[in-house]
Amino acid sequence: MPQPKLQLDRISLRFGGIKALDDVSFEVRSGEILAIIGPNGAGKTSTINSINGFYRPQEGRILFEGREITRLPAYKRATLGIARTFQNIALYTHMTALDNLMAARHIHMRSGMLQNALFWGRTLREEIEHRRVVEEIIDFLEMEHIRKTVVGTLGYGLRKRVELGRALALEPTLLLLDEPMAGMNVEEKEDMARFILDIHEQQHMTIVLIEHDMGLVMDIADRIVVLDFGRKIAEGTPAEIQREPAVIQAYLGEVTE
C-alpha cells in the first residue's frame, strides 16, 4: 500500500466547551479527489483549518507524506506543499489578479533585500521565472482578460477563480478547497468543476474539497468523508455514501412518527 498523502489520526479540536472535531480519523490518498460533506456546523471547515495549520487540534496527529506536521505553523505547511482557498474569498481586493498571484510566489523567493531594492541579478531572474509560472496558471484558468483587473471589481465567480489561481501559484501537492463553488450560477459551477478536474488530471494533484452541491460532489469526487456534529459518520466512494443510512439520516433528520 503506497504512502497516503495525508493522514488524520484521531483528531479532536475544542473551542472552550464546544467540541468542533471529535476523534476524527481519515486519510487522503495520493492523487485522489476527496470530498468532505456534512450539514452546517459539522466541522468541515475546522478540518481544513486543522490540516493547513490555522487551528491546532488538542488531540491527535496529522501526518503529511508520512511526516508529522501537527505542531507546524501554517506558513511552514504552505512551503511543504499544502495550499488552500477560503469559503469567504480572502484576496488582496485592491490589487490586480496578476499581483495577487505573484504575491503567492513570495514563499518561493530567495533573493536578498539589497538585490530586491536594486531589482537586479537574482531578483530579476526570479521575477521572470515567477511571472512565467503565474502566466501558465493564468493561461490554465483562462484569466487572460482579467490579468490586470483589480480584484475588488471582479464578479464573484471570477474572484473564486483568482483565489484558486493563487493557491496554485504556491505550486502545492495538496490542494484544499473550501466550498469552491458556493454562490455560483450553474455555468460558473461547471467551469469551476472543469478546472478542478483539469488540475487533477494534468498535474495529478491531490485535492480535498468541501462542497454542498451533492450532484457535483458525486460527479467529481473519488471518495467522500461525511461529518456530522464533529464526528466522522461515513467514508467511501460516492456510490457507497449514497446508500449509507447514517448519511441519509444526518441530511434528512431522524424519521419520527
Binding site: R132, E135, E201
Partner: protein, 663 residues
Amino acid sequence: MSELNNFADHPLLQPLDPALDTLPKFFLDRAKRYGADKVAMRKKRYGIWQEYSWAESLAHVRDFCLGLVSLGLAREDKVCIIGDNDPEYYWAELAVQSAGGISIGIFADASPQELEYLVNDSESVFVVAHDQEQCDKMLELREAGKAPRVKRVIYWEERGLWNYNDPWLLSFPQVEALGRAYAADHPGAYEELVAAGHGDEIAIFSYTSGTTSLPKGAMISHRNLIYSTRHVVIIAPFYDTDNYVSFSPLAWITEQSLGLSNHVQNGIIINFPERAETVQQDIREIAPATLLFPSRLWENLISMVQVRLSDSTWINRALYKLFMPVGYKVVDYRDAGKEPPLLWRALYRLGDVAIFHPLRDKLGMVRMREAYTSGAALSPDALRWFRAIGVTLKNLYGSTECQTHTVHRSGDVRFETVGPPAPGVEIKIGEGGEVLVRSRSTFQGYYKAPEATAKALDEEGFFHTGDAGFLREDGHLVYLDRVSDLIQLANGESFSPQYIEGRLKFSPYIQDVMAVGGWDTPFVSAIINIAFENVARWAEQNRVSFTTFVDLSQKPQVYALIRRDVERVNATLPPPARLRRFVILHKAFDPDEAELTRTRKLRRRFMEQRYGEILHAVYDGQEEVRVRAEVKYRDGRSGFVETTLHIESLEQKETEAPSHARA
C-alpha cells in the same frame, strides 16, 4: 458602370505570372525572401507577444503539409478547419492548399449538427480542430456514424485531451513529425507540390451564412483570392511593416482576403489575440494599420465608449460634451466639400489633444490607416460619430461569392452610400433593382449545386447579389436592403426594415431589433431586444431594481427609456414607416436558436414565424401577450420559459414629417 474604373492598366490587375498564381506559391516565395529575419506572425501567449519568423512559419506549413500527405491527403481533397484564429489555423490552411487541397473554415461556435452538415457536404477527409471542445463534437459525430469520410481529426490545443488515447485523434506536432519523416524520404517534395498548383484551382469553400436556406459552399479559386485582396490594395496599399490583428473568423471570406491572402502577397504581420475576451485590449497593444469590423461591432464600440464615459470623471465627460459638437461641425463642413474655417480647425486641434486622440488610443486606432465596416448596414449616426473623433470609417460592401463589390476611397466617403465599385469590379443594376457584380474574384459556383449556381451566375458572368440598390450619378452605390426584404406598405410605398433597425440600434440600450410591417399589416411595429449590460447599468444608476433579464426587460421604466429612442427615430421617418407599437423581448436574439445567422444577421422569415403569437397580439390591439418560448441551451438540451410581455403603443403624430427622410 465600368467606365468608373480607370484601373484596367494597373499592374496588379494584369494576368497572373504562373510562378506566382496560388497562395502557397506566394507564401513560399515570401518565406524564402524574408527567411528568419522578419516576423511573420505574433501570438500573445502567457502575456507576451511570441514571434514567429517567416522561416519558422514555412517549417510549420511544410511539415504539416507533408504530414497530411503521408496520411493520405491527395489533390482536391477537402479539409475542414474549425476553431479560433491561431497561427496553426493559418498554417493548416496553407498546408492543405500547398498539397493542392481545399480548406473549409468553420465558425468555432458551430453546433454538432452544423458541423455534421459542413463536414459531409464538403466531403472532407480530415478535420483540423482547435481543442477539446471541437474534438468532442467530432467524436460525437463519429459515435453516431455521421463522419464516415473523415480519416483523422488533428487538434492544436492539447488541454483537456491528455487522456483521450484515441488513434483517430492526432496532435498538430504529431502530424508535423510525420511530415519531417516524409521529407527525409522525399527531398524537395513540398516545393514540388506547391509548384504543381495552378491559379484556377479551388483554394477554399466559403459557406454562405444561409439567411434563407441551408449553407452552400461557394468555391473560391486561388486567383479569386489573390485578386480580391488587390481590388482593395490598389486604392489602399499595404506594406510588409504593417500590423494586422486576426480576430474575424477565417470562415468569413473577408479574413481570407484581407488577412491570409494579404499576408502572403504583401507580407503584413499577422497578430493573434490571446483569447476572444481580450481582443479589444490586444488591438490596443498592436495598434494595427487596418481594422475591419462587422457593423455591429463598430456600434458596440460606441456603446462601450458611451458607457465607460458615463462612469468616467466629470472632466472627461465635460471634454467629451464640449468637443463632440466641434467634431460633428467639422465633419459637416467636410461633407459639404468645404474646408472648415480656421477657428473650427483650431478648435478641432484642441479637441484632438483633449479627447479624440486619447479615445482613438483606447480603441487601438492611433496607427490605423484604413477602417472598414461590412456586413449589415451601419447606421449613418455611427459613421458620423467615428468621423467626429477622427476615424474615417469606410464602407466595404461585398459578398462571399464576389468578395469586394464597393469600397469608399479616401476623400470621397459618403455616409449614405457603400461607395463606388472597387477597382476591377463591374457593377450594374438588374431587374427589380438588384445589384449585379462581376470581377476577377467572382466565385466558381456552389459545390454540388449546379441549379443554385445557375441562378446566382448569369451567362455574362455577373453574380446576382439579391441586394437592392441603385447607382448614383457620382458613381456611388446606395445599398437599400435584400430585394426580398423590401416591404410594401398599405399605401404602396416601400420601406426597408433594415434601415429602421440600423437607426434604432444606435441607441446604447438596444441590442437588436426586428422591424415588421407591410402587406397584410396596416402599420410598422418592432420587436426590440435590450442591450442587457447597458440597460442594467442604467437601471442601477436610476434605482430600478430587477432580478433577471426577463424581469428587467419588462420594467415600465425600461419601456419608457426605449420609447424615447423609438420616438427619436420615428421623427426622422416618413409617417407610414413610423413604428406605432413595439414589444421588448424577454430574451436576446440568439444564433444558437437559429434566430440570427452566425454573422448575426436576422433570419426574418424564421423570426416572424417564431414570434407569430406576439405579432398577432401587436396587430390585434392587445396590451400584453403571454409567451411560452422554447429555449435551446448550448449543449443541445431545451426547455421552456413563460412570461407576459407588455406591448407599448405610440401616438401617431401626422404632422412634422421631414420631407427629406426616406426609408
